[in-house]
Amino acid sequence: MHPALQGLLTIVIGVGGCVGYFYFSNVLLDRVIFPARGRDMGRNINRANMVRPWLFLFPAIFALGLYLAYPVAETLRLSLTDRAAGGAFVGLANYQQMMAEPKFWEALRNNFMWLLIVPAAATGFGLLAAQLTDRIRWGNLAKSLIFMPMAISFVGAGVIWKLVYEQRPVDVEQIGVLNAIYLALGGAEPQTWMTIPLWNSIFLMVVLVWIQTGFAMVILSAALRGIPEETVEAAIIDGAGPFQIFFKIKVPQIMGTIMVVWTTITLVVLKVFDIVFAMTNGQWETQVLANYMFDKLFSANDWGVGSASAMIIMLLVTPILAWNVYNARKEMR
């Protein structure tokens, strides 16, 4: 069958199935199982209302359980077994094997570097852009343009920045902006930026910062607008300068939002895969955990070690998970 037709059919079946399920399960509940008539009318209505939430929730819970909760447990199990030995339990052998690999430590080191630099840089630039664009007339246009990279795929961004980092032999004109600038500033010969360890990781981080700054800007800009004007007015009357107002009045008031932005970008960084995969594929010491895991899974076909590295990512995410859940519960009360 033609894929487009199959897609259409799936939409119809999916949407129709959903609507049908919800409609008929409700009808079944109200008319057949607990009919709102006869002797037990009152009790039946109450009973139906106790069951109904679970009817509404069932598809979602089923999908969440199958596609997110179950895999966490299953990955944990897989990381403790050996696929080659028919899934036998091997304890921590996979983790030991992974720890013995220099590539893993390189990935971990790089990930920590990404964690240090990208959220800080993106939040910083985002805050700067939010503060500056809020004060000028063409601010909305500027925001739109800085926000734009959010819509671009990591792979597309990879191509865009690969062109920036492109390198040509010394006697030919450079077509990559970075090398052109480097030569114009007196650099001796064009550099292959993607192969210089440490710097190449930073150049990859630039891509993610470029994408995430818009996100930070949009959220921080909304937070800045939410600051009560009286506080700023009071500060001006007290003789505070623009910088003092920004750092001592505004930033402390939006600290909560800054933390939210920071952690959200941290999550993106922990899972970063496409950029590295498209631009260097982890060569020249640019490996990161997510790409290391993909390598193990689909190139080396080693599910044990792949699962183990996935668990490491999960472990790194857990503090943020706990913090988010804690905050959500606090709000609910």
């Binding site: 894929p3 487009a4 799936t10 999916g14 949407v15 959903c18 919800f22 409609y23 409700n26 209302n49 106790m50 109904r52 939430p53 509404f56 979602a60 969440l64 596609y67 997110l68 179950y70 299953e74 897989l78 630039f125 000028i136 063409w138 343009l145 800085i146 734009m148 990279p149 959010m150 819509a151 792979v155 597309g156 865009i160 062109l163 492109e166 902006v177 052109a180 470029w210 949009v218 909304a222 001006i236 623009p242 939002t257 999550l267 899972k271 895969f273 496409d274 997510a290 895991m293 993909f294 899974l297 689909f298 996935a310 943020i320 998970l321 988010n324 859940v325 959500a328 519960r329 609910m332």
Partner: protein
């Protein structure tokens, strides 16, 4: 806010400049890709794209006519013509020329050069040349001439022809123009009896829809007429679309019902469920890859569209439920209670009241999910793309191009631009909803 009491901050100009610099920096890389996609491989290879707007001084190697075309008059063998015409180029002004690769700037226009094999050549500024010799010119190929000339900026659509199929871009432009005219005429004619379709047309969402339809239509005719190379993106475009649309629509309904239950129904364990969903929001997708692939292979779904739709649905649900619940919980309690008093069931309340009122949140999530599934590489690589390579998505096609044709920037830039065009259209048309969704999803 900062300039109360009429005192304008002295930093205003600094703000303007800083914002301009920021915008420039953020825009520059993308513009580079865009401009490059309209340049020939020669141009891309010889000069930076930022010079594409200006005439560039280039060194060209041209050839005169082959000796077999020489004409003999009064014992003098003559070859004449125009160097640019010979090469199929537009005429431009030659500043210097040479006949050896070691001295390409040896002569000024109208000066006469002695050829190494005997005879002379005179090249005029406009590219006209005259070769003379008392004996016949020999050899099979024409004389090489090196000229330094100013080439005017030049853009081409050939890259798009290579990547998408012949004339696709031209057709898209025509369709677009026709659709716009049609839309405006329709709007003008039926202005006062406007139905939903007509009312939707002038809005940005309607425009985006129109653009997407045009894209699909234009590209599909491109595929039909062929002219495809191995680099065909048109097929990948359709695969991506096939992945994206069901994967965007299906989770919305499932999530909407669940969100309603979590927001407006009382039952034991509600708070715990919400906490679990917040937790699942950050579970890395990487964890799900192996177990789910195993599961899909076991139950017979295998690798294919169905698998990727299900996977995207599962991965999109936590955000969908979270966004929609937050939005629905903020709806006024009175409306729902009034409806209940009037005897509406939960199902009716949901379908008739909550769903229409939640449109902004639904739109936000739909955009998120659309962008995310369109731009996704990992999920498609794991759940969709099998060894046959029959189905591929654009992100994967680009990664493959990066591997095999890393140097062919004209192909790469065009392919990448085609893949980011759709998200960009959606982004600019629906930015309002995207921003709302971001704010609802993060600041709480």
């Amino acid at each position: 806010m900062d300039n109360i009491a009429g005192s304008k901050s002295s930093l205003t100009w600094a703000v303007h400049i800083s914002v301009a610099v920021l915008v420039f920096l953020w825009l520059f890389p993308t513009v580079g890709l865009f401009v490059s996609s309209f340049r020939t491989s020669d141009q891309i290879a010889t000069s930076g794209w930022w010079k594409a707007m200006f005439p560039s001084v280039q060194n060209l190697q041209l050839r005169a006519k082959a000796p077999e075309l020489q004409v003999e008059t009064d014992g003098l063998y003559v070859i004449e013509g125009n160097l640019f015409a010979e090469d199929g180029r537009d005429q431009t002004e030659i500043s210097v020329y040479g006949i050896s690769s070691r001295a390409i700037d040896a002569f000024r226009p109208a000066e006469t050069a002695e050829l190494r094999k005997g005879g002379t050549i005179t090249v005029e500024a406009n590219g006209d040349y005259l070769m003379e010799h008392t004996e016949a010119f020999r050899g099979s190929r024409g004389q090489r001439v090196f000229v330094t000339a100013e080439i005017p900026p030049e853009f081409t659509l050939t890259n798009y022809d290579t990547v998408l199929g012949k004339d696709v871009v031209k057709r898209l432009v025509i369709y677009f123009a026709a659709a716009m005219i049609f839309a405006f005429v329709l709007r003008y004619v039926v202005r006062d009896r406007a139905g939903i379709m007509v009312a939707a047309l002038p809005t940005s969402g309607g425009l985006a829809l129109l653009l997407l339809l045009i894209l699909v239509f234009g590209l599909s005719t491109g595929t039909v007429e062929g002219a495809q190379t191995g680099d065909s993106m048109a097929k990948a475009f359709f695969s991506t679309l096939t992945v994206t649309i069901p994967a965007t629509i299906i989770p919305i309904l499932v999530a909407a019902f669940a969100a309603y239950a979590l927001a407006w129904m009382d039952f034991p364990g509600r708070a715990l469920l919400i906490a679990i969903i917040v937790g699942l929001l950050v579970v890395p997708l990487q964890l799900a890859l192996i177990p789910l692939l195993k599961l899909h292979l076991q139950v017979g779904i295998g690798k294919g569209y169905l698998g990727v739709w299900l996977a995207h649905t599962g991965f999109g649900l936590p955000l969908a439920i979270y966004l929609l619940r937050n939005y629905m919980a903020g709806l006024p309690r009175d409306i729902i209670e009034n409806a209940k008093v009037d005897g509406a069931t939960d199902f009716q309340i949901f379908v008739r009241i909550i769903l229409p009122l939640s449109f902004p949140a639904l739109a936000s999530f739909a955009i998120f999910q659309f962008l995310w599934t369109w731009n996704d590489l990992l999920v498609a690589k794991v759940f969709l793309i099998d060894a046959t390579g029959e189905t591929t998505v654009m992100t994967n096609a680009i990664v493959e191009l990066l591997g095999t044709r890393g140097g062919n920037w004209e192909i790469l830039a065009t392919a990448a631009f085609v893949s980011i065009a759709v998200p960009l259209i959606v982004f600019f048309a629906m930015q309002k909803y995207l921003v709302r969704g971001l704010l609802a999803g993060s600041v709480k």
